[in-house]
Symmetry: C2
């Protein structure tokens, strides 16, 4: 059956999470398929930030650390994120950036392994080529710093076999930023454990986009991003997860005062706080955490099963429409067609990808481009409608049929995933 | 001569930087002597954040990385801070927290020393007991992580002698957070260099409070706080300085994608960006950096010489008034009396310090308390008036004379310096 725009409108009319779109301020005339890069602005965030800035900072000043409960923001936001990723309360904290959190957990993991497996030569961090760059870069920096640690990258299909007894840590991004491919978290974590390695999962493109079950998979550690599907705002604080069973043994290498057992005793000797709190480092970024809390609240208030089912359906329909309308125009499907193996995005390949993305942006259809030839379209299920999928593909078909993409203005663009 | 309130009003009338107070939103009825802990809200920050949130994030979304120039915020803010601390453009960047930046620079410094002095056994980080806790804690974490590095603490008066050839890095806080004592940056840096060590200065209580001349002192590295005298808001991003001569040789241990030479090429191999940019790690916190930019702009627009002269005068007058009015009440002066040796704060000791600070806060005079018995009063020269000093000491005298401090409500208070 060929899809129609009316059929999409009918799907929207029946969508059990359609109302969550009303929680966002979305600019008119824009179809925003880049929520996997920067999530949209929740309406509640404006009022919250006015409250934080005008009243809490401006009037109550230093007293707000207590009176406005600034001091518990990192754990409060962490506990809100926890159910989205299959974690328990007390296992997640919002802090620093994804990159810094990768360093913190990987450094903590390899030194914990070193202590617990003295002399066993467990010194490899295993990842895959083409992982999101910061994951690889941060591990290269850690390896350079420690000297006795090696980053080894093996293509996805060889990862299971590459889990050998010299591996201390498996580090993978759950949903690939470029292709949208989902790793089998349960199987790879189990395989890692079988050889004595720990598994650290980067959930940047997962949290808030699809069902994640860290504890169900036995995951050890995880990090993730606050500014994509969690709608925390540009450069929002990130989060990290440490499974309860590791919390006492994992030492934070960035042992700042906010992770101290008694930060306001101002003693000279570091004593890690119990639980997840020790993974705080410096003073929490109050304004950013407050915005992130509002973003996560929108998601926490929605029906997650319905939301993640919608994610998958949006991607499926986008691909069906690509087949139906774009067959003649040289696109490759680079993401998995099976929605169980795909994040909430569709990735297409085209040798004129950059120009095509620019032409779409000029029409208000915002996706993004990743070199050398990937067009990415992300489907934030809280605010993307079925009709948006139709309209986006309709614009794309029109641009290709008319050749209008050849006229797109080329301009340099920082592409912050 | 005994000071009077009218004499203070006369000083305010002649104050060349008095007008800078108008740049702030200060709550009525409050004398805010805690700007050394959390700076006040600049009026311009509200409008700026509304612009960033409503327009740049809400409407322009991902495009704002270019159109609103989000991508250059870290270097732009760094270049605004540079002249406040005697650094050149391109030597300062705003990023992460003070604690994280301490780790980044200290780890970079000891590994640079290791490479450049192979086999010389230079493995000590020298600091002082009672330094701000996070400085010590972070170095303890770094020493634990690296194994071959030792944190050694020596009281201030012994530091020059403790600079021996096994020292890789001297780490000191320029203005002591508790006593306000200023280290001789030029002399200690020179002594460090004489034994082949590098000097890393924590400017958290210096930047925006007193004249700092990093390059004039030959300093190698520095970090500092955005939320105190720079008025960047609660948990604002911090900054770091790397002297130009070290920029090529210093490798960032937290080698995230934003410090890569070509972050948007998405390659697998880390290549550090040239200059100060490599010390970025994750995606910059846009909202926090925007607020910080407004805070720094207020200071950048003021006459720095007049501002820092006022800092010293405010502290001198506060001490004179303490002598004049509080002689009978058992206060000790814990800060240096010589304003050339004192940051923009006064520290008093009193065995009932906690209760006295609470009684002051109930009257709207906000200073803070540091265990076991230190009362701190900070003088942010942009918005504290001479008459505020009078009024604060007047309240303090009244509380002591009437014994009202005995009735202060005791409540737990997180004291975020």
């Amino acid at each position: 059956m060929a899809w129609t725009r009316d059929a999409m409108l009918a799907l929207d009319a029946r969508d059990p999470v359609a109302a969550s779109r009303d929680a966002f301020d979305l600019p008119p005339g824009v179809i925003y398929l880049d929520g996997n890069s920067l999530g949209a602005l929740p309406r509640a965030t404006r009022a919250r930030l006015a409250q934080v800035v005008d009243r809490e900072w401006g009037v109550d000043l230093i007293r707000s650390w207590n009176s406005a409960d600034w001091i518990t923001l990192p754990t409060r936001v962490g506990d809100l994120i926890a159910p989205l990723i299959g974690a328990d309360a007390g296992e997640v904290i919002a802090a620093d950036s994804t990159s810094a959190n990768l360093f913190k957990l990987a450094a903590g993991a390899v030194t914990m392994q070193r202590r617990q497996n003295a002399g066993q030569g467990r010194r490899v961090i295993l990842s895959e080529p083409g992982n999101f760059p910061t994951d690889l870069y941060v591990m290269q920096g850690l390896a350079d710093l420690l000297g006795d640690v090696e980053l080894r990258t093996v293509p996805a299909e060889g990862l299971a076999d590459a889990l050998t007894p010299d591996v201390a840590l498996l580090l993978l991004t759950h949903v690939h930023y470029k292709t949208g491919r989902v790793h089998d978290m349960a199987a790879l974590t189990a395989k890692a454990h079988a050889v004595g390695a720990l598994a650290l999962w980067d959930l940047s493109h997962s949290a808030g986009a699809l069902a994640v079950d860290l504890n169900g998979c036995g995951a050890d550690l995880a990090v993730g991003c606050g500014y994509k599907y969690l709608n925390g705002g540009p450069g929002a604080p990130a989060f990290l997860f440490v499974a309860r069973r590791h919390q006492d043994a994992l030492h934070p290498p960035l042992s700042g005062w906010m992770g101290h057992a008694a930060p306001f005793a101002f003693g000279d000797d570091y004593q890690p706080a119990p639980g997840i709190l020790r993974h705080l480092c410096g003073t929490p970024p109050v304004i950013g955490l407050s915005a992130l809390e509002e973003g996560v609240k929108v998601m926490a208030g929605a029906d997650r099963d319905a939301l993640f089912a919608k994610s998958r359906r949006l991607g499926d329909l986008f691909l069906e429409l690509v087949d139906q309308r774009l067959g003649a125009h040289g696109f490759q499907v680079l993401c998995p067609r099976d929605s169980a193996r795909r994040g909430s995005q569709v990735s297409l390949g085209h040798d004129q990808g950059y120009a095509i993305v620019q032409a779409l942006i000029e029409r208000g259809v915002i996706g993004d481009f990743r070199a050398p030839e990937v067009l990415r379209f992300g489907f934030a299920p809280l605010y993307i409608r079925y009709v948006d999928i139709w309209d986006a593909v309709d614009h794309l078909a029109d641009i290709m049929e008319t050749g209008l993409w050849r006229e797109a203005r080329f301009h340099e663009r920082a592409a912050v995933t």
